[in-house]
Symmetry: D2
Subunit: 283 residues, 4 copies
């Protein structure tokens, strides 16, 4: 898909849509998707515009320069992507492999527009899966004493491999604020509860004790505050009094797989805009 | 809401979005929603554009004339609406009143941007509800012998009152093709099954006998083919072997109310475009 | 429905099911529903048994006496109900009437096996609905100063009318612990969030600010802790970034109506057992 | 889990529950689940009773004999299972591997109480997955000319290996009536539509053309009538006008995996009773 995507946010005012679509049209681009949203309370305008590069008069490397006139006029924060340039992804995982397993199958089936180049784990359980999939596996055990050092190694490795997106597919380590800050809106976590309910450890046990009739899963960007980042996607499933904690775990795993997959896919398709502590998802 | 809405469909080609947004922008309109879709198989482009009339340089009655240049260039089929001009609606109902009851409560609560001016029924059951709501009630019993004559009366009445939209809120009469043709894409029906399963009478009994584990409801525009028109909205609910037919009826009524309400609301908000036997819903 | 229902909880051990079913069978009762559950962690056994009184050898008023031998042998906590003895219900409501409106329509349609004998409100908004339904309306405004006094009046009134179940259908007053204690497991509240997320006031605004992708509603028994009682039923609905707070309110109202209705109906059908801070719902 | 399960159906009459529970209790069995249902229209009573064999006075091989007195008194059709005797399963698959992949992961995770001993396919695509899982793979290409012969081979193979349950995990061959008859209520198929809508080939394309707003998947026992057998489980997912047929296929695959898994698991847990063209699922 030789398509370009512009993700834009700026103070709301007249003429943004017209100016942006006009910019593309005058250069011969065919707009295939255009979606916009205004947060009236915050006074912010959001836009996602996707057009075909075939027939577009400006080569990729010149678009930024040409778009400057438009972006400056509206004081835009913006990003430009090309959908045939697939982002490099690293998956972090601990011992529970259902999300990793699901992502790898979808990846092999062509459902994830990215290149999964690395699997990092503090355990060895995921190694056979990585091997089968032909993806580099990096075993990096972490203790409180070695965490800072290991994160430095991880960061160096991610940088060396040009990794853009980190997926925490049930990675049971809390990243340090220093690490998190280097990947703003680029670390996607799956939390096994319907946030903001049941933050922290053992959410299924918390849900069981509370006696809820529905459980959930939440995928969000990671920020310094634990389980507090902008939510990308959530889903829920009905349970009842017959469900043991283990039943909740199993039912929840199916949610986790779906929710993490959808969040990652939308991120890779450049459909997610983060602002404040919220997201706009142009699905 | 002093907003204008353009609903457009035309053969897909470059420049449509840019031309339409430019048309609005150059006349001082602030676009608050713009959504588009391309049916790649059919080669048809669809668009919904909503903008604020406050500050727009062209008065309502002149917009059509001015837009002609754009619409002709792209061979558009298009409609122009103003959201503060609320369409007049008639509700047709027989003896089951749950949908009518629900619509009237929502109407009184301000959730339906229309003016419900008439309730028509082949039975007297709905009369007290109409009375309470202060809406004209027209009792028009129908037999096979009188159907054609009654439809003529109905049509005259609808015309006299300037009714734009007909809602069949469990109206158990099949309209004649002649009648239907006069209200293309303006009669909204609720069918109490997940169409295309269980067309025709007693769909809950059909579902019960088939042993399905989920039942549904479908709201669609009425065409000559029974239960065959373009689907606007559907929803489903889980059942199990314990449900009697009466349980299905009750569970289904909650679906019917929701599905019909959503379909009607989207229609009134000018979010629905019908083409072939399908709809685009810009929700 | 001339049916009897036994709701039982007791320490788990062998022979409970056999003893209870045998008790009914030997007296000529036809068991139409029998459901059981064991909370393995807590070591508690729960049972709901429903049988036809037609042909049962023991008259209603003697069953308790005869069942004593069984109940004592297993150290049971138990209740006996007859489904043709419909409990008297009072609905408490403030200014938002969607739940009341929905319950009254279902009541008139025969979906609620109870007798709604009283509507209490701290505002006059609900009075016309009560009048239409032919139900006594009691206007009882509440201020911090008069709360205790009004609750005393309410309690006297409820007692005088023989009210068994209180439904808080969006009643925006926090009941005092003294009042709550007199109606243990008999006050059913609807809270407009997916508890335990968003306890307290303005949960839709809280949800909006948090940026959740799903909202919920929760019906629970009222205990002294605010929004903390045993959950009977919950449901959720998907939202997105386009939803304003008012949109959340409207979407949530549809949830609230369904969730409160289901919780009340199950309670009235004697399908709910409360223990600790949880419920068993034999639906 | 050293548990016994009785699945019973018989003409409805008094005393069945009491007699069956009494049978277990008198022999020292602890009943852990007891569920029943009466189809009032058909006059049939269904029951599932599960008890602990630890402490049960009768050895496995004698239970049938002892239960005869009860079963004959009520003219029961019944089956006795022991949950630690895991049924042998064969999975039939063609080229689409998502269901197989999902089942194998769940199987390895301990979520499927069975022994998957064979994977049969008319293509070689599934061979690597079978190899990884350490399960025998049998490549049996089928043409109209060889179908009967191949089915004979398949039947011989299944018999030789003692296979009890056949799972058609997107097996794109229609089995002959002769073959089907030998495995009544033991062949579980996944159909990629919400049956009875879209029977037969290419249901996603059918759904796309019809313009439905929701798609589904259905798992059912196979009978001679194509896609017509008793439904065990269904589920649905919302789509909209933006979904291409390929999007429907992908969304549907997630449904198919879940629905087939649940149907198979419930069957293996002996929770499904089939009668006429319907099922009772004691979940």
């Amino acid at each position: 898909m030789n398509h370009a995507v512009l993700l834009i946010s700026c103070p709301d005012q007249k003429g943004i849509t017209a100016s942006v679509t006009d910019f593309v049209f005058r250069r011969g681009g065919n707009i295939v998707h255009a979606d916009q949203h205004t947060d009236a309370d915050a006074g912010i305008f959001f836009m996602r515009m996707e057009w075909e590069m075939a027939g577009f008069a400006v080569p990729r490397e010149k678009i930024t320069e040409e778009f400057c006139a438009v972006s400056q006029a509206f004081n835009m924060t913006w990003s430009l992507y090309f959908l045939d340039e697939k982002p490099k992804v690293a998956i972090f995982v601990s011992r529970q492999l259902h999300c990793l397993h699901d992502l790898l199958f979808r990846y092999k089936s062509g459902q994830l527009p990215c290149s999964i180049d690395l699997i990092v784990s503090n355990h060895r359980d995921a190694e056979p899966l990585a091997l089968q999939a032909g993806i580099e596996f990096c075993y990096m055990p972490v203790t409180p004493q070695t965490k800072q050092e290991q994160e430095a190694h991880q960061h160096a490795l991610l940088k060396a491999k040009g990794i853009e997106v980190l997926v925490l597919a049930r990675y049971h380590q809390i990243l340090t604020p220093e690490f998190v800050r280097q990947y703003e809106n680029r670390i996607i976590n799956i939390h096994h509860s319907f946030l903001p309910a049941f933050v922290g450890g053992n959410p299924y046990a918390q849900a069981y004790r509370k006696g809820v009739k529905i459980i959930g899963a939440t995928s969000h960007y990671v920020i310094e505050e634990l389980d507090g980042g902008p939510i990308i996607e959530q889903d829920t499933v009905r349970i009842d009094h017959r469900h043991s904690i283990q039943d909740l775990v199993e039912a929840g795993q199916d949610l986790e797989r779906m929710v993490l997959y959808r969040a990652l896919r939308w991120h890779l398709e450049r459909k997610v805009l983060s602002y404040g502590n919220k997201t706009v998802v142009f699905d």
